[in-house]
Symmetry: C2
Subunit: 250 residues, 2 copies
Amino acid sequence: MPRLRNLTPGPPPDLVVRRLSRFAALNESERALLRSITVVTRDVGPGQSLVAEGDRLDTPWLLLAGWACRMRGFPDGRRQIFEFILPGEMYGLCLRPLAVSLSTIVTLTAATISDAMPLREVLLGRPQAYPNLAAALHCTAALDEAHLLNQLIRIGRQSAFERLAHLILELRERLSMVGLAGADTIPLPLTQEMLADALGLSIVHLNRTLQQLRRENLIAFKSGVLRLIQPDRLIEIADFRPPQVIKAAA
Amino acid sequence: MPRLRNLTPGPPPDLVVRRLSRFAALNESERALLRSITVVTRDVGPGQSLVAEGDRLDTPWLLLAGWACRMRGFPDGRRQIFEFILPGEMYGLCLRPLAVSLSTIVTLTAATISDAMPLREVLLGRPQAYPNLAAALHCTAALDEAHLLNQLIRIGRQSAFERLAHLILELRERLSMVGLAGADTIPLPLTQEMLADALGLSIVHLNRTLQQLRRENLIAFKSGVLRLIQPDRLIEIADFRPPQVIKAAA
DNA sequence: CGGGCTCTTGACACCCATCAAAGTTTGTGG
DNA sequence: CCACAAACTTTGATGGGTGTCAAGAGCCCG
């Protein structure tokens, strides 16, 4: 059980509403539905499995606080993190009937989750009753896929230096959607091992790459807070392009 | 325009029916619907773009013959292939409304395609009229996702040797679903550059890795046909596990 | 105050990319 | 049908990016 600072503490604000509002303007009943979901919450420690490979994907969940990831492990201990799940994001939602999870979902830090079953009803049962919410949920699904492709690009065709820069920029963008990113600063409550497992690098090399970014005065990273000193240069280095997920018309 | 042998020629048999029948037992009207789709076809040369990044994903297509891929390119010429699209498989199907393609789809060989718009109707309009077909289509979507995760595992955490073995096994499994794989042989109409772009390797290194597999008497590969000499050893080397996509109940 | 984790550093080996050039196959046109 | 050109494959040499091993330093928690 790794020790981890919990850097997204405090009363869970309207992270989810704030995030989904980026995709579509939600009306009052839609916001109320979302808030009703986040009333009952559950706290989970770090390193806990939330969904196992093979589990039925019949219940969506909201991650209200803390970080998690989708991953898969090898028999020999290697593991690959497919994508991070950030505060305010959703997991376990799949519109296909009888869908089964192809990956394990585990918390990386202490976390707070809540059952979001009503959102499944919204999408499958009566989307027309919550049109904007349905559109927003579709957008988040599209973003998920975009993040997976980003991962492939990073790992397949970028150097360690480029990879790390690219991931940092993606995390900044996603955190800013829920209001957790400062002007040039983001919370990053991950160990270097977790970053390495996501980027397909060894721990040692990730550490050196991190230092290279520091040495070139591109970032600062201390006690779970990362500062982007020259975001524009990072964008250039990583060839970072924000995803083309179109905001659905109202 | 690369020169490429077209190794999946001849009259397009019931590839699609055969493949989807693996996932659910199709009734006669479902099979008839599928066959009606494949009557009107279009031939496309190699290297042709079928879907561009940003295109609306409102029309599904069937690839009746030839190979294609989903990919993304860098400004400097690097490119990453996300997944191959094999004969009998589908592309451009997305159930989300207003969905937009996040990748480019291009043919790798000469190919034959057909418009599969009716399948979209089946899923969105009246799935209960074609229950088995709908279930089968959901399975193919799940498989697609499994292949993406396979890619990430390969590229992120496997050596070149393991990667290539793993990809070969995945291709064998997929080709056998449409009846294109022999007992221990599969068609592989790809240049080494294409394989390299999929596996995140350089052409030269892919070539050497291929030779290593040959030298260790694991495969033979000549003029577009690959023979798996010791499939079991390949499975061991690559830690290959067939996807957990459950066959939906009838 | 002690014991795990985590981060950092150094040394070293090897996997893989790059550059360059020769060899081979395939398709095309005369 | 042959000859040529283009694309593809193979090979060698070399350098650099990353992984591995090992050990020490820092940090947080009990």
